[in-house]
């Protein structure tokens, strides 16, 4: 299956990546090539085969419900690009008029 430039534009939006024209062109070709390789996996008959999510299965990992060590809030916020009053600060999320 070939990847189109429109596919790449759509995926870039999902991935929150601004891509320039050169990148869109390069990725359109390269993603297609890599997915061609993956096609052999896609075509394999795996009916009846269970997927492996964890190679060494661990069931029900539990711990005592006790409060553990926490990171220092001010220390964490000091690493943020912008913080205010104990919160991370970001640009506006919604239009002022809506």
């Amino acid at each position: 299956m070939r990847i189109t430039r429109e596919d790449v534009v759509h995926v870039a939006r999902l991935a929150r990546l601004d891509l320039d024209d050169d990148e869109l062109e390069t990725f359109t070709g390269q993603l297609g090539d890599i997915l061609d390789h993956a096609a052999r996996v896609e075509a394999l008959d795996t009916s009846g085969v269970e997927p492996t999510a964890h190679p060494v299965p661990l069931a029900n990992v539990l711990r005592p419900d006790e409060r553990g060590r926490c990171l220092d809030r001010d220390g964490v916020l000091a690493q943020a690009p912008e913080a205010e009053n104990g919160y991370f600060r970001v640009p506006r999320i919604m239009d002022a008029g809506s």
Binding site: L14, L19, L31, I34, L35, R40, T52, P55, L58
Partner: protein, 481 residues
């Protein structure tokens, strides 16, 4: 002054050598030699010398400073170090000072080791040549026109150059073993979950493992014994008790059955000099009493393709956290989504963008089962193949990499050629099994060739025994000075 980690630790514990002198000497070697190699992104002399001083104080007071007393260590820059810049080789984390230490870092320090700096790597551990570092490529200490391998190329080169006796790396598809092979060092990936990943910046969570680099098997074993073990901070960490490996290194190859994996030791991509050294190593093993049989892992024909669906899918999810909100770079914009897009566009390099795109596509509506789900089923087939092979052999063997170190720049424009570097190492990640690369001789141009040994889950004692047995007949490659 001793060169091996165990020699240093022994001399420091007995008071014959001071940890401060050992660490100062390592820092001088980096200062004098690393401009030409690029193995360290940064060192922190003051912190390291202060920590070394505490090791010496413990010795003076009659307290045991631990099995790695005074051993200088390099840490791949994907491991968090509290208050010390950690970039993952990426611009998006430039200047980030993590608020906590990785569990492996804490364990090394508790054992008396002294980390001296953060080693260069491919951005977010994605690459096979270290050319994807946003800061600078790393040169192979044995031939500076060639790559050290990747993604833990800085750790491999720092050990191969003799700057530090041991270093830590991370291995998602071969990122410890392939650079170890290309640099002539030992590099080991433990069983998935055997070493805590708390504080390892995640790439592909179902594949990532941390492991050691060293110039010989005994030093790698010493570090493994220190870092292995359960950690409540990592829910994927295995609770089984750790069986130490250092005690069983002299058991040799006599009586072991080695399974040569046909699919990982033949074919068009394998260089003749690699196969020559590999076969010569097997002949030596037979003389040392091992039995050699042929085994087949037919599903590994699909392993590389499955890996390049699973790893990008998990990376696209893990790297969503780099959005300009909580740490690292922010590129300003009018609204939050435009800020996210602009920040990630400016902060990520081409390989990271390629894998985020590939993974986002593979996980997007309508494709999840065809790609990620199908790749996870291939993973089951690979595990079943391994189980059948281990009914016939104790340890499986192949070359670590189909080629010796290639030239800087040779594969940067061809992602698939680059991905083929990891064809021998990826199956162990898919299965979650431990594996190790050791030096098995040099090819025609004096470039190292690596021997790859694989063992079943949690069979690290057997894996190290076999590796030490091979090393006893093959020798080790000296650091390039």
């Amino acid at each position: 002054m001793p060169a091996t980690a165990r020699g240093i630790a022994s001399a420091v514990r007995s008071g014959d050598v001071s940890a401060v002198d050992v660490v100062a000497a390592a820092l001088r070697r980096v200062e004098a030699g690393d401009a030409a190699i690029g193995s360290f992104l940064r060192t922190y002399a003051d912190t390291a010398l202060e920590r070394a001083g505490r090791v010496d104080a413990a010795v003076a007071e009659g307290r045991d400073p631990g099995p790695l007393a005074g051993v200088p260590v390099g840490l791949k820059d994907v491991l968090t170090t509290e208050g010390i810049e950690t970039t993952c080789g990426s611009r998006i984390l430039e200047g980030w000072q993590p608020p906590y230490d990785a569990t492996v870092v804490q364990r090394l320090r508790d054992a008396g080791a002294v980390d001296v700096g953060k080693t260069n790597c491919d951005e977010f551990a994605m690459g096979s040549s270290n050319e994807n570092s946003a800061y600078r490529p790393v040169a192979n200490p044995h031939d500076r026109s060639r790559v050290p391998g990747g993604s833990s190329g800085g750790s491999a080169a720092a050990v191969a150059a003799g700057f530090v006796p041991v270093a830590l790396g991370s291995d998602t598809g071969g990122s410890i073993r392939q650079p170890a092979s290309l640099c002539g060092t030992v590099g080991m990936k433990p069983t998935y979950g055997r070493v805590s990943r708390y504080g390892l910046v995640a790439f592909a969570s179902s594949l990532d493992q941390i492991g050691p680099f060293a110039l010989d098997v005994a030093d790698a074993a010493l570090v493994y014994d220190v870092i292995a073990g359960h950690d409540p901070m990592d829910a994927t960490s295995i609770p089984h008790p750790v069986e130490p490996v250092t005690g069983g290194l002299d058991r040799g190859l006599d009586g072991l059955t080695l399974g040569v994996v046909e699919e990982l030791s033949s074919g068009a991509g394998f260089e003749a000099e690699v196969l020559d050294r590999f076969r010569a190593a097997l002949a030596e093993a037979e003389r040392a009493g091992a039995r050699v049989v042929d085994v087949s892992l037919p599903s590994t024909a699909y392993a590389l393709s499955a890996y390049y669906l699973i790893a990008p899918a998990e990376c696209s999810s893990n790297l969503a956290r780099f959005d300009g909100v909580r740490y690292g770079l922010r590129v300003g914009a009018d609204d939050v989504e435009a800020m996210n897009r602009a920040t990630r566009a400016a902060g990520f390099g081409p390989e990271v963008k390629r894998r985020v795109m590939l993974g986002t596509y593979a996980l997007s509506a309508g494709y999840y089962d065809a790609y990620y789900g199908q790749a996870q089923r291939v993973r089951t087939l690979v595990i079943d193949d391994f189980a059948a092979a281990y009914e016939r052999a104790d340890v499986l063997v192949s070359p670590t990499s189909p080629t010796v170190a290639f030239a800087l720049g040779e594969r940067t424009q061809d992602p698939i050629a680059m991905y083929l570097s990891d064809v021998c190492t990826i199956p162990s990640n898919l299965a979650g099994h431990p594996a190790i690369s050791i030096w098995c001789g040099d090819g025609a141009a004096g470039l190292p060739v690596g021997l790859h040994l694989m063992a079943p889950a949690l069979a690290e004692p057997l894996l190290f025994q076999a590796a030490a047995g091979f090393e006893a007949v093959l020798g080790t490659k000296a650091a390039a000075v």
